[in-house]
Symmetry: C2
Subunit: 345 residues, 2 copies
């Protein structure tokens, strides 16, 4: 059989504004400059991703931290080689004027709650236990990538989503309906679960372990091209976004620009796996019985060939350095300290 | 490494209304009923598809007939196992009020013409030769999946597209602009190339040959599930479309419904590879120097486990039988004889 030099890369989700660095690396020829070819693929079901990469059918891809660990614990040989988004806030999102849900977790009793794939359900079940409820106390509905539409249609009362995507979609829809953005509320899972950060949902660059082992130079080149595209985007957000919509015209809307703006502060500037976050999520996964006590973290920063920013220090107040990068504090502090880019005319 | 039972299936294009049968087979549990699991993936560059399937990185997928032959001729071990769309009209699409293009091929001189991937360019170059022009007489611009937007933006004067997608997109945009649908014109490649049919662009179910050889039962089950979904769609087009948009909300627009309507007559009812079309396209590919004189057609109907409709007979007038299926004539006659389904409320 004829082989191909093309590296396959499977996104965690349909193409979304926060995937910009990957597509930009392709579009600006950065992969080509490194001498590699990359075929970016999009899933129709996000739950396929770890299985398909882990079984070696696809080489590289993206996935949230908790799924990256869960997939490994199930025997899929995947490893994180970097970070795309640091700790986007994740939680149970709802329209407060009609959901009947409050800041009290107990208000979820009897509600229909949408989740993407099976680990959303595991997290919900653990949270309900944590708050003295059982899975029988609410109705879990698997909705795949369609959380927002299912809430709008009224198929579910609330759904698990992230602050920089589903929350923005619902906020903009609410405004169209003549309501306030504040009608959209999120019960943050990190707060409910007392994790201290939303690191379980950091979106990682992952790969098949055998592919990584056999192709270390390709992996370095791949990440170098993405780092270069990330730097370009951080420096020129408006220009980068207008380039992106040339290849993804369906993202050329105010809504998607707002999603990009909201995602901006979450982009990892140096792409590193954050040890503090891995430790927290490892502990959380043990609590959820997703991984066992001996779990070895499936992550490495060895393919990042540039100076990494200092790891955040617990107890140290965040300082916004000149580049807009936060040092000290924790990575989630990026959220409150980086201003969104001006990408509207 | 842990293996997966999931069959990977890579679309020829981002998810589009005419992909309905595949997604419906997933959504209605028809794949599950057959005891198989299918992960549907979408490309970001259609030119990746034959290479990735041919090299065995992905198991199954979709591709136009001409690319299926071209990929095989390049050494990618792909084979057609059925047909999704019979002969959608394909050609050079433009807005006549400003393109300066007429029904005369010579009017393409000096124009900027967009094409998807490299074979579009090969076809254009052959056509220009055929009409006494050279590739220097026009400017070819590779636009990937964004033909329509590139025309609207004015980046190109015309672009290669199909009647049931790009032509519909442009027609609806023209109406929005206060112009007539008739402003959108197509120079049909089959007519220009004197092929007698647009069969080169029939969209086929394809697969990696080694995967097919090693998994004949899976392939039969896969196609049986898709046939069942196709039957459902033919019988219940409105209901099928409303199911589809639940998993692909971005297709829940009037425009996409019109694309589905326009695609309806092209859907193969029995999914067979049409021998007449394969013979024509083989001859065309030889003319284009895409395949050599000894090329063996990489197609089979052996995995279609239901009665196939009679092959169309040259010179026999088409007859619309009770089921809405045309017998006799050629498959392209489907275009003129099947009424579009009523899927608008």
């Amino acid at each position: 059989m004829v082989t191909t030099e093309k590296i396959t890369c499977l996104l965690n989700w349909k193409a979304t504004p926060y995937h910009l660095p990957l597509f930009l690396a392709q579009q600006l020829g950065y992969f080509a400059d490194e001498g590699i070819k990359v075929a970016i693929l999009e899933p129709s079901d996000p739950s396929d991703v770890t299985e398909i990469i882990g079984s070696g059918k696809v080489d590289l891809g993206l996935k949230a931290m908790i799924h990256t660990m869960a997939g490994k614990a199930r025997g899929y040989d995947i490893k994180s080689i970097g970070t795309l988004l640091d700790e986007p806030f994740t939680g149970v999102i709802h329209l407060s004027h009609k959901s009947g849900i409050t800041n009290d977790f107990q208000s979820l009793r009897g509600k229909r709650i949408g989740y993407v794939g099976e680990f959303g359900k595991i997290q919900l079940d653990e949270l309900t236990r944590h708050f003295g409820m059982t899975p029988q106390d609410y109705q879990a509905i698997r909705v795949g990538m369609n959380v927002t539409d299912a809430i709008i249609r009224g198929d579910i009362d609330a759904g698990i989503g992230i602050e920089n995507v589903q929350q923005v979609e619902l906020e903009e829809w609410s405004v169209q309906q003549g309501r306030s953005r504040d009608d959209v509320q999120m019960l943050r899972i990190d707060e409910l679960a007392e994790l201290g950060c939303c690191c379980f949902c950091s979106i990682l660059y992952i790969g098949n372990e055998e592919f990584i082992k056999n192709n270390p130079e390709k992996v370095r080149k791949y990440l170098r091209a993405i780092k270069r595209a990330t730097d370009y985007m951080i420096e020129n957000p408006a220009d980068a976004y207008s380039k992106y919509v040339k290849i993804k015209p369906h993202l050329d809307t105010d809504l998607h620009r707002k999603i990009f703006q909201r995602s901006f502060r979450y982009f990892s500037r140096d792409l590193k796996n954050v040890q503090r976050d891995w430790n927290k999520v490892t502990a959380y996964c043990k609590r959820l019985n997703i991984v066992d006590a001996e779990f070895e973290q499936n992550q490495t920063n060895e393919f990042l060939t540039w100076p990494l920013l200092p790891e955040s220090q617990p107890g140290v107040e965040p300082t916004t350095v000149e580049t807009g990068v936060v040092e000290g504090g924790c990575t989630r502090c990026l959220h409150s300290s980086i201003a969104p880019p001006k990408i509207f005319a």
